[in-house]
């Protein structure tokens, strides 16, 4: 009988690591063929309509950017936290925290000067998401509470908090639907390209990519954050206040997710609803891993999943494949990426036992 062993391999050249996500994308497309064929879809037609639906004309391409913006932000949020081994699976809740802050200021901040409204909303949304994320970080550092569990559970706390607000104090007067009043016109994110929804939130997400890149590679804090992630004991020994670093990491991580919520309120919905996010927080985990936790990788993989998300609508119409193929593909991509990453460090050795 053959037995399988996993053994360390000689370090691979660094360009291999860069190619890994692209290989994972190809493998994902290949594996997703199984459910597509099972759904009775014609493979070429399905993938053709997927990519045409996302990239095929000016409007679709711009829509793909619109959809990519929250994904970039939640992907960055997760990647930044994971790099410090803060297991933030709560980007969904932090997104809603940011959205609540944006809605409250967008509806009631009438006293703010018009030019300050959007900046104020962005700052408030960032802080709301960030502070919401510091709760599990604080519980982790102070009481050793598992951060995976708390960030996951706090998602539901936030979701029901939003429900409480939308059936209560934030409900649009006279409406029986759980939705807030519309935010003021001068709180709308300006649209940058005519006849599209290409809004400044997309620029915000691009700037965030550069900002996280800068923090990671060029600041002392970015270095400390990485040290805490690689080896927390060594980091402490080296004089790093690990608890503080984790709190600050959580603040920035949650803040980025909060900005995603701000974008959805100020550029897409113009009010707060229960279904603001179709799971951008969860997809953020997939994006962060596929992007190898690197900001540029996050941007690219967010764009990839945005292509799938937008294109799946077309694929569903043209090839009859349910749009839920997106979730299946996200799961496949995450697992494939994990295996590929493992194979950069280990190799499988078969031996007779």
């Amino acid at each position: 009988m053959m037995s399988m062993n996993i053994v360390k391999r000689e370090p691979l050249p660094s360009w291999v690591k860069v190619l890994i996500p692209f290989a994972a994308v190809l493998a994902t497309l290949a594996l997703a063929a199984i459910p597509i064929l099972a759904a009775g879809g014609n493979l070429w037609k399905a993938y053709g309509s997927l990519f045409f639906g996302a990239l095929g004309n000016r409007f679709n391409l711009l829509e793909t950017f619109v959809k990519a913006s929250p994904l970039i932000l939640t992907g960055l949020a997760v990647a930044f936290a994971f790099r410090a081994r803060f297991w933030n699976i709560g980007a969904e809740g932090q997104l809603y925290a940011g959205a609540v802050a944006a809605t409250v200021i967008g509806v009631y901040g009438t006293w703010l000067p018009p030019s300050l409204k959007i900046p104020a909303i962005m700052v408030a949304g960032f802080l709301a998401g960030g502070l919401w994320a510091t709760i599990p970080a604080f519980l982790k550092t102070r009481f050793k509470v598992d951060d995976v569990v708390t960030t996951l559970l706090l998602n539901y706390v936030m979701l029901h908090f939003v429900g409480t607000l939308l059936f209560g104090p934030l409900q649009e007067p006279g409406s029986s639907w759980p939705r807030s009043p519309q935010i003021m016109k001068d709180a709308f994110y300006p649209v940058l390209i005519a006849k599209s929804r290409f809004h400044i939130g997309i620029i915000v997400s691009f700037v965030s990519v550069l900002a996280v890149w800068f923090i990671n590679d060029k600041t002392v804090f970015g270095y400390q954050s990485k040290c805490v992630g690689v080896n927390i004991l060594a980091a402490r020994y080296g004089g790093i206040n690990a608890g503080m670093v984790i709190l600050k990491t959580a603040l920035i991580s949650g803040g980025l997710a909060g900005l995603a919520g701000v974008g959805e309120v100020c550029a897409i919905q113009y009010n707060l609803i229960m279904d603001l996010s179709p799971g951008y927080g969860q997809t953020g985990v997939v994006i962060a891993m596929l992007g190898n936790l690197h900001p540029l990788g996050v941007a690219l993989s967010a764009f990839f999943f945005s292509v799938i998300g937008v294109g799946a609508q077309t694929m569903s119409r043209m090839a009859g494949v349910p749009v839920y193929i997106t979730g299946v593909m996200e799961g496949i991509a995450l697992m494939v990426m994990l295996v590929f990453l493992l194979l950069t460090e280990y190799r499988i050795k078969w031996s007779k036992s």
Partner: protein
Amino acid sequence: MIEEILSVPFLTGLLSATLRMSTPIILATLGEIIIERSGVLNLGIEGTMLFGAVVGFLTTLSTGNIWLGVFMAAFAGVLLSMLMALLAVYLGVSQHVAGLGITVFASGLSMFVYRLTVGSPTVPPTIRPFVPVPIPFLSDIPLIGTSFFNQHLLTYFTWILIPLVSVFLFRTRPGLRVRTVGQNPFAADTVGVNVNLTRTACLAVGGAFFGVAGSFMTLAHQNMFLKDVIGGRGWVAIAMTIFGNWNPVIGTAGALIFGFLDALQLRLQSLGVRLPFHLFLMIPYLITVVALVGVSRKATVPAGLLRPYRREEKGG
């Protein structure tokens, strides 16, 4: 109001619903405890439960055989667990991310399969769900009997499993092997226990529990499949595993408290109490977080948890 709440019918309903609502969480917690005792954290739980819910529902819908539905849900749970075993046990990738991968994949697959089978009718299809089975004589006792002994068969089954899992883990040789594998896999290997096979077996058993727990939601608690039918109950089971310090009895107690709060919220609503019901839905999750704060410092995590076992990497 107070009189209504203190009335026998209300209390009976509340106790009965507590047992019903806690059933899937107890079952999932038992499964997760077995798995974590062997040294694997399975964050695939939430997705596995959803997949169990949909497989159980669709099987029952197409065959009319509800027990076949339960069986297929368990089987579906085992299948997903084998994927987890391949990734997290044999290949040894990050258990955190592998589990999340399973959950993302299984959640997507559940919706995909449901839509493919059922299409998008205006009224979601329903099945004839399990009905409570009163236990003769015992169910005639006022209050206690009418609430505790008039439950679904799956609920009785779950309550039988609690002592069984406890005895298995703490009083049998295979149970000792599982705990050793989770505590010190190198020692287990030295005395000839197959670490990876033991972990895989635990994942399989736990996965079957998750699948059945999920199917309880669509076959007993409700009679249809909805996207958010699990609604974080898998994550609650993970929390209860920690809260129970990896002990089935304490974990069950935690799950009962969660089930009670869940049931209270439902009962008060049906009394027509005008409460912000989302606030009530929030409370169980909030209390779970608070409970974790209370126990986490003292928690004794299985020492081998999260660590893939590779013979060459002792102490790694």
